[in-house]
């Protein structure tokens, strides 16, 4: 059985070249014979802990059903400066509302989104599709067989969620809003 320390180093190497969330299952395959699930989980934790303890600029995050190496948010300014990139375009209010509807009511069709927002949201949905935050998940078997939309894996990554159950529940959202976060 391989040592956890070695497994941790292996995990870190794989995450470094992956650039996207790697599932524990994938890590198990890579680790090969002898590695056990529990031990691998421990190895991932070891990498995560070490980065935290060393005050590293890089962190292990759990998003979209896997693990990913990513920069820490504190260094946003430095990254922007170095890479010369424009701060990633923030989502408009219309996009956020539409995305919230898809996230909490998926699978959902465009007419249903339009009804909830009381405005035509076709263009917004297109933007969300282009940004890969939502995806088409088949058609609804009703008159006109409209397309149904779901949030994507990229959505989970964008908002730092492990899976959809990590979204704040509607009740939690209400509570936060009750504490004065709502509009003036």
């Amino acid at each position: 059985m391989p040592e956890t320390k070695d497994l941790a180093a292996m995990v870190e190497a794989v995450l470094a070249v992956a650039g996207e969330p790697v599932t524990l299952e994938a890590l198990l395959v890579v680790a090969g014979e002898g590695a056990e699930r529990a031990q691998l989980e421990e190895a991932v934790e070891a990498v995560r802990r070490r980065h935290e303890q060393e005050g590293s600029g890089v962190q292990v995050e759990s998003v979209a059903g896997g693990f990913r190496l990513a920069t820490r948010p504190e260094h946003e300014g430095a990254l922007r400066e170095y890479l010369g990139y424009r701060s990633r375009a923030r989502l408009s209010q219309a996009a956020l509302e539409t995305l919230a509807i898809v996230a909490y009511r998926q699978p959902i069709t465009l007419p249903e989104i339009n009804f909830l927002r009381a405005v035509n949201s076709a263009a917004v949905v297109r933007t969300l599709l282009e940004r890969k935050l939502v995806m088409v998940a088949g058609r609804k078997q009703v008159v006109g067989t409209p397309l149904v939309y779901r949030t994507s894996k990229e959505f989970l990554v964008h908002f730092g969620l492990l899976d959809l159950s990590a979204l704040p529940t509607p009740e939690e959202v209400e509570q936060v809003a009750g504490e004065g976060a709502s509009e003036p």
Binding site: A16, R68, R72, P73, A103, G160, P168, V173
Partner: protein
């Protein structure tokens, strides 16, 4: 979530600051809050008036008032008129009920959107770490000692063959043997002489396919130049060309 404030960039005139609304429900929620009334017991006459006032202001600012706003304006008026009718306790539902339900649902959407915006804010500056790893598996490397002249020649032949496969010889064009202008003149003379010229049988009896095609183009030109009319009684029947009496334009003759 504070809706962005929109101030028109006009030097003259009073400064009007109007929030940007995402739609009629957004505007209604704003008014309910501004008038400090309960969403569960909306004074519909008051809100209806404020709503129309806002639409009016939007128009004055030359903001495009989308059709959705007008639909809700009409709906508000309908609810307002229903409220005036006497209602018996417990008999009918409140005319405002559906509107309230939609407002409540929309408020939830707005809160969820604010929540997502907060989550996204926490994620600013979180970028994936990715060392530059080769994307494709590395090519099988050849031991240099295995490379000899024959291997080189074979490699060259493979390259040349692949090149030929990917770059087939260009299409060979046959020299032009018939000119459309020449045929226009020829056909014009035939049509003028015969008064009613059977085009189809003429085309079909040409020994050369290319000549038939050129003749057909020439016939179309004659019709376009209004020097001949074409008639056909039914599909696939004989096509007759008759002269219109107009002469051939000079430029056609001079080029021929």
């Amino acid at each position: 979530m504070d809706p962005g404030l929109l101030a028109p960039d006009q030097p003259a005139g009073p400064t009007v600051v109007l929030p940007v609304f995402e739609g009629p429900l957004d505007l209604l929620l704003h008014l309910v809050r501004e008038e400090k009334v309960s969403i569960w017991d909306i004074p519909i006459a008051k809100i209806c008036e404020a709503y129309q006032q806002t639409l009016h202001e939007m128009e004055e600012l030359d903001l495009e008032v989308a059709g959705e706003y007008l639909v809700y304006a009409a709906w508000l008026l309908l609810i307002k008129s229903r409220m005036l009718l006497p209602r018996h306790e417990g008999e009918e539902k409140d005319p405002r009920q559906e509107l309230v339900e939609r407002l409540v649902e929309y408020e939830k959407v707005k809160r969820a959107a604010a929540e997502l915006a907060g989550l996204a804010e926490l994620r600013r500056g979180v970028e994936p770490v990715r060392f530059a790893a080769p994307l494709a598996p590395a090519e099988v490397e050849l031991d240099l000692e295995e490379v000899d002249v024959i291997a080189l020649a074979r490699a060259l032949r493979e390259v040349l063959e692949r090149h030929l496969r990917e770059h087939p010889p260009a299409l060979q064009l046959e020299p032009i043997r018939f000119s459309v202008q020449e045929k226009i003149v020829e056909l014009f003379e035939l049509v003028s002489r015969q008064r009613s010229f059977p085009l189809l049988s003429h085309l079909l009896t040409r020994p050369d396919r290319l000549e038939s095609v050129t003749l057909l183009v020439a016939a179309l030109e004659l019709v376009r130049l209004r020097t001949a009319d074409a008639h056909q009684r039914e599909p696939f029947a004989e096509i007759y060309l008759t002269p219109t009496g107009a002469p051939l334009p000079m430029d056609v003759l001079s080029d021929a």
